[in-house]
């Protein structure tokens, strides 16, 4: 077993990226993700990598676009308002089928909002925040260890599918300090014959297709790839799920709070369980459909006005009642309110 370190969520994102072979980071400051960029600014020179603070979020994402086209592992990060600015670049990355890792440490919105944690960018992350038909793989860690592990894994995932992987986390996990075991092991290295590099034959990395037939074909090919991702990459974690009558759906920080409520419900003899999506896209539809075979009701616990709840309803084809249990604006739900929601769902459904 390797030694543990005590690390902040935001620092774990940086260390994991470096361990995965990322040597190009392009950032711009915004709370609550600043420790990530600050950590990179110290670590990248030590690793003979590039840390560059861009003049804006838009520049930073376009530097990722360029670096990725050159075939290197690269990353940018921001918090909610900054991700809105990166939306154009994310669409271009998708249009060129370029791999990239983008971090969103969410804060309350809309607009400038506040600097306290939130999960209100679920739609933005999973439904495409830029223009055009495209998808990003969205990973939602729920501990500092997972911040490390999922980021470590995200670079290979991005290279494998030539897609952007977004790490969707929040200010609570970003600021939290927990002991972490750092990864070892070999990273899969992907051949990138499409990359633009010195000494190679001419390569074109481009999202412009003026002929409609060619543009249609590029979309159809890309969506065939997305279907493979949906088939192979749905990830989730179940907790007390197998015999659950009431299924709580929650991701990220909310899921840890929900676990406490589920333990309390179980101690009162209520069969409650947690289904925690780890990939928000592809959404773990199969696991939800299976849970719906037994469960009587679902509760979506979110730090938003109700965004993931729509995917829960879709995944179970509205076959069971789904209620929302939420706090917003930088406030996290507490176990008591989730327990109350479980008790209410049980009252109505059973």
């Amino acid at each position: 077993m390797s030694e543990k370190i005590l690390i902040k969520g935001n620092e774990a994102l940086a260390e994991a990226a470096i361990a995965a072979g990322c040597r190009h980071f392009f950032g711009y400051p915004i709370t609550p993700q600043n420790e990530l960029a600050a950590h990179m600014s110290r670590r990248m020179p030590q690793m003979e990598g590039v840390y560059l603070q861009a003049e804006s979020e838009i520049s930073a994402v376009n530097m990722v676009y360029g670096a990725s086209a050159a075939g290197v592992r690269c990353m940018t990060s921001s918090s909610s308002p900054g991700i809105s600015l990166k939306a154009e670049g994310l669409s271009y990355l998708a249009g060129c089928d370029l791999p990239a890792v983008v971090v969103n440490v969410q804060r309350g919105g809309p607009g400038l909002g506040g600097i306290q944690p939130s999960q209100a960018d679920y739609f933005q992350a999973t439904k495409g925040c830029g223009h055009g038909d495209y998808r990003m793989i969205v990973l939602a860690p729920n501990s500092v260890q997972e911040m490390y592990d999922h980021t470590y894994a995200s670079f290979a995932l991005a290279d494998k599918y030539r897609m952007t992987v977004m790490i969707l986390t929040d200010g609570l996990l970003g600021q939290m300090m927990e002991p972490v075991e750092v990864a070892g092991g070999e990273q899969t290295v992907f051949d990138k014959p499409w990359a633009v590099a010195q000494g190679k034959d001419k390569q074109v990395v481009n999202s412009l297709f003026l002929k409609p037939d060619a543009l249609e074909k590029s979309n159809l090919d890309r969506f065939a790839k997305y279907r493979r991702v949906e088939d192979d990459e749905q990830r989730y974690e179940g907790y007390q799920l197998d015999d659950a009558d009431i299924v709580v759906a929650a991701y990220g920080a909310s899921s840890r709070i929900a676990r406490n409520a589920i333990d309390e419900a179980r101690s009162r003899g209520i069969k409650a369980g947690l289904l925690r999506p780890i990939t928000l896209w592809p959404f773990p539809k199969t696991a939800f459909a299976k849970a719906a075979e037994r469960a009587r009701a679902f509760i979506s616990v979110e730090m938003s006005m109700g965004q993931m709840i729509e995917d829960v309803e879709l995944a179970i084809r509205c076959s069971r009642p789904v209620t929302l249990c939420n706090r917003v604006g930088g406030v996290a739900p507490d176990p008591k309110m989730i327990l109350d929601a479980i008790l209410e769902a049980k009252e109505k459904a059973i």
């Binding site: 005590l6 002991p179 709070i257």
Partner: protein
């Protein structure tokens, strides 16, 4: 029980996330057991989160005066000095603990008090072996020099606060002792104490139990 190596004004500085606020709160509350007038002064100009003001109620109940920027704990991200910070130097009847922001950026705040600090202050470097950027004595020493240069001062001692938060074991603390000693030798500074969470119940020369006044989030 207070360690030797403190002064009427004791300053805690060090690496980001090394536990300065936790140690500062502990020392202020310990001081209050023997001193009538104790002040904890928060000079953090870096981090909008995890500030001494989170412990305001606890401190005030114990009779410790908290000096803190009016913007601390409000989510307003403006580095602000508390207007009454300098009072801890002028009012020589007060025993004061000063909690500084992390790294060289945080230590900048001390620059304006450098003349005062030369007179009657202990300036302690808080270290944690389990933080990745200060995991060995060489890296920790480099960080220490950056902090001193930014704050225009010299440290007078080291506080070993090596921990892995809730997962800390007694062995983790014991494993950090050679690291603290080596850093002390490199920097030619005394290790004035090793603090260990009181639930660990470790005893040993220079190891002191610390009550962690942190609101653990129920996660």
């Amino acid at each position: 029980m207070l360690p030797d190596g403190m002064s009427r004004v004791t300053v805690l500085a060090g690496h980001y996330g090394s536990g300065k606020t936790t140690v500062a709160t502990h020392l202020a509350l310990e001081l209050r057991k023997t001193r009538e007038r104790v002040t904890l002064c928060d000079l953090d100009i870096v981090n909008p989160y995890f500030r001494s003001i989170d412990n305001r109620e606890l401190l005030e109940k114990a009779g410790v005066r908290l000096i803190s920027s009016p913007l601390a704990g409000t989510s307003v991200e403006s580095p602000g000095f508390p207007p009454d910070a300098a009072s801890v130097f002028d009012d020589t009847d007060v025993a004061a603990v000063i909690d500084v922001g992390g790294d060289d950026r945080g230590a900048l705040a001390l620059g304006r008090y450098s003349e005062h600090l030369k007179k009657d202050a202990a300036i302690l470097l808080v270290i944690n072996k389990y933080r990745p950027l200060s995991a060995n004595a060489k890296d920790a020493a480099a960080l220490c020099r950056e902090i001193e240069s930014a704050g225009k001062f010299r440290f007078t001692g080291i506080v070993n606060n090596s921990n892995l938060a809730r997962e800390t074991t007694a062995q983790d603390v014991l494993n950090s002792l050679p690291y603290a000693e080596e850093l002390g030798k490199t920097l030619r500074l005394p290790v004035i104490a090793t603090f260990a969470a009181d639930w660990l119940e470790i005893t040993g020369e220079n190891i002191r139990p610390m009550n962690i006044y942190k609101k653990w989030v129920t996660l």
